[in-house]
Amino acid sequence: MLFRVVLSAAATAAPSLKNAAFLGPGVLQATRTFHTGQPHLAPVPPLPEYGGKVRHGLIPEEFFQYLYPKTGVTGPYVLGTGLILYALSKEIYVITGETITGLEVIGLYIFGVKKFGPSVAAFADKLNEQKLAQLEEAKQASIKQIQDAVDTEKAQQALVQKRHYLFDVQRNNIALALEVAYRERLHKVYKEVKNRLDYHISVQNMMRRKEQEHMINWVEKHVVQSLSAQQEKETIAKCIADLKLLAKKAQAQPVM
């Protein structure tokens, strides 16, 4: 913003620079440089797995290494002893009842750590391991599921190759069924036609029989009608005379 003020002041001072005032903010943004340094947020350097090495649980190892060139191995210990003795002798640190209690508390604490430390550490490690194992199990279950799906898919594909047997059998079945249906219908047609033809034949037979009977009856009726009483008497007398003759002939014959 101040840059714009400066630019406008420069424009009033030097009119040739007036056109530059419009470029002011853009110039400001264009000349600002971004992303020039090394990116220091990523990749994150790996965190150390273990903490710094400590001697006696309190004093970092670097302190001993720092004093080693000048005082050797015993240097820090001599320093510590000297400090303690100095504090005690000058009564900077006064031995009271608190000292004894404090010493006992610290002693108890060290005893506890030495005795239960490894088991507590193992317990903590076991807790973490359980968490990891759970996740690992979930991962393995997922992998197994996918593997099972792949195997099932493969088996399905193999089955698909053998599908044509099924289709052949089905085709044969259907052909058989069609054949049976066809023959059945053929037979039905045959029976129906025969039925109708039989009907016609029986109708014809019946007609002929009826005509025959009718004719016979008609003939008989007319013959009986045509026979007058006179003719009937003569016929009967003739029949009797014939019968007598026959009787005579019959009597005569067995004698022979």
Binding site: V94, T96, G97, E98, T99, L108, A124, K131
Partner: protein, 226 residues
Amino acid sequence: MNQNLFTSFNIPVILGIPLAVLIIMFPTMLIIPPKNLINNRLSSIQQWLVKLTLKQMMTSHTPKGRTWSLMLLSLITFIALNNILGLTPYAFTPTTQLSMNLGMAIPLWAATVLMGLRFKTKSSLAHFLPQGTPIPLIPMLIIIETISLVIQPVALAVRLTANITAGHLLMHLLGDTALTLMSIYLSSSTITIIIIILLITLELGVALIQAYVFTLLVGLYLHDNS
């Protein structure tokens, strides 16, 4: 350094600035919120302890009572850590101060009572009269129950204060005794030292138990009134 027995219960002061607030805030530096899924051992053990305590404490509550989980869990952690840290030599234990314990007990107790009176008025008032009391005793019993209700926060605070203070006092006394006896009669000094060891173990237990009892009782009042 110690003019009388109770100087260790004075609030430490540096250049005239009382350090009570800093000392009370110190235990929070020991509880590290877990960052990753797999943390270091300390965080894992703290996580496991928190889960264990939570399950132990809050399963018997109603869902409304379980909204107090954070409060109760932080309460027990705070009291337990303060008590345990107070066992280190030359440490100041905030829970020996009645002011702090009353400041913890009265609001929590009042919250449970007010919650009960507001949401379950009849049921919380019914706590004043246990079932099956003979009729002539009722007026007296109600007065007694009221007194026992009003005394609950005071009892909570004073119980915690008295237990921790008494333990610390005993430790100081025995330490002084051991020191004095060392120049007179060394063997009884050794015995006193052994007694102090036992006492420290007891103090450790008392520290944890008092925290537990405090939180448990607040939970109980909550359960009654939720």
